[in-house]
Amino acid sequence: MSGRLVVVGELADGRPTRLTTEVATLGRRVAEDLGRPAVGILVGPDAAAAAETLAGFLPEVVAVDVPELVDLAPAPRVAAEVATLVVPEDGPILVGASPDGRDVAGALAVLLDRAVLANAVDVEVGPEGPTTVTPIFGGKSIVRSRFVGRPGIITVRPSSVDAAPAPAAGRIVGRAPAAASGGPTVRRLERVVEASGEIPLEEAPVVVVGGRGVGGPEGFALLQELAALLGGTVGATRAAVDAGWIPYARQIGQTGKVVRPRLYLGLGVSGAIQHKVGMQTAETIVAVNRDPDAPLSEYADLYVVGDLFEVGRALVAELRGRREGGGG
């Protein structure tokens, strides 16, 4: 029997993450091109229930309920369970490149002794098997890579693929946990929720980003308003994060998140290289900045020279007007 393409899912609040459905959509297409069956694996405290959603994207989903994962850091145990379900003929193994997904992929690489191709935004299939497409150095080059010998693990960047359900729902197979829990234990003592319901930065279709020019935490209120009107979320440059105006989790760039939204709207952002590496693959880039010569003026699609507060407030009024006017 030829092996299967494996999609390792991730759970949040009892449901597969959006990234998981994106990876499943990509996995389904790649499996078809490879002529291999695709199978999803979900491991977690409520995997069986979550498998219903993922089965909308894949022909088969294996659910492993591990109730004690509620109190543990999940990645090592998820990787251990997945490793018991993967046979040597299987591959490639697709994992979302979220923080947990990277941990799962790293652990799986060792447990299965498989190579890793990281951060794919697409997977093409040629005569030599799957080839990953990955922007490196913050998008300055696009690298295509493949495995030598058997296919290994591919991590997939958020927002690289539009999630699309399969024409027919797949079947769900429940499995009892099988991994020996001999590994070192990391206990979760507490979960502190600071901003519930916020769209994850990497998953937001629209990101409204503030830089040094925003001037302080209160300035971000305008960005929040714009983000709400545009159906997106707020991000920031390192300067704004370092100044303490907005949490680190919102930072885009070299030591923050890499985002690939449909729309990036930058207000008071200069777009220096350390920030650029985190956002230059956005589909559309619009910027408002007083400085006509800021780096962003060279790679934005639309660059407005002006005061971010004046233009930002006018844009709020304009968008509200259009909404009330029935979409203009």
């Binding site: 949040a12 850091a73 990645a75 090592p76 923080p99 990277r102 941990d103 790293g106 690489a109 060792v110 447990l111 190579a115 890793v116 990281a118 030599e128 080839t131 490196i136 150095f137 913050g138 300055k140 080059s141 696009i142 890579s145 495995f147 030598v148 290994g152 991590t155 590994g183 070192p184 990391v186 206990r187 979760r188 507490e190 979960r191 929720v193 600071e194 519930s196 545009l230 994060v241 680190y248 930072q251 923050g256 729309l263 559309t284 619009v286 408002v288 006509p292 003026s297 060279e298 934005a300 639309l302 660059y303 407005v304 020279v305 002006g306 006018a314 844009l315 304009e318 968008l319 203009g328």
Partner: protein
Amino acid sequence: MRIVVLTKPVPDPASGQDRLGPDWRVDRAAAPAVLNGNDEYALEAALRLVEAHGGEITLLAMAPPSAPETLRKGLAMGADRAVLVTDPALAGSDIPSTVAVLAAALRDLEADLVLAGIDTSDGFAGVVPAALATTLRLPLLSNAAAIEPDPAAGRVRVRRIVQGGYDVLEAPLPALVSCTQALGAPRYPSLKGIMAARSKEIAVRSLADLGPLPRPVGGAVAETVVVAVDPPPPRGATRTVRAPAAEAAREIAEFLAARRLLP
């Protein structure tokens, strides 16, 4: 506490000149090497932990022979010594090779705490910390925004960033922690630190020095290969708008509407 900080020299992203050479490996002549940004946060966290709890810091890198220049900055920031694993056979190593080599070097260092940046600015893979922890059977506390060890009790607590908040994790020492910028800005080396760094030890070790490894390593056995390197698809020309705010806002809205970006 004995702390080991994993450090990777990377082409300076701020130079704008980081690129692959004709052999499709990092063109090390094109851009100056710097310590990977997230590794500097890991080192800063280590320095603060040693200031609070005592101990010593060793930098560990697997890198080309030119790496001592880059590691010297970490020593100037306050690390006590460095170990550089370098060997011509390691050029072109894939992730499993890198992990096997770092794991072997780490075993000899007997660390209470291993700190690493969450990812590197050249590859952005971010899988090495978990792979190392799995290889060494160390607890992994990843994506750390705060690290609170209790050496007397033999355990460490970490505040781990998760979507919308954080988890408080606890594990026994020794442990491996992957570090984010939320730990605090790295210090600049002082003049005294720079002077002191000149006489600090950088132990250079070859593959042979590491002894037998559990698997073959290096470029010759890499299980991944680059097949093409292309420039990104060009972005269209920039349209620049200079207009009063209301007019500029209308232009933005129309631009977004034309691209179907308005909800």
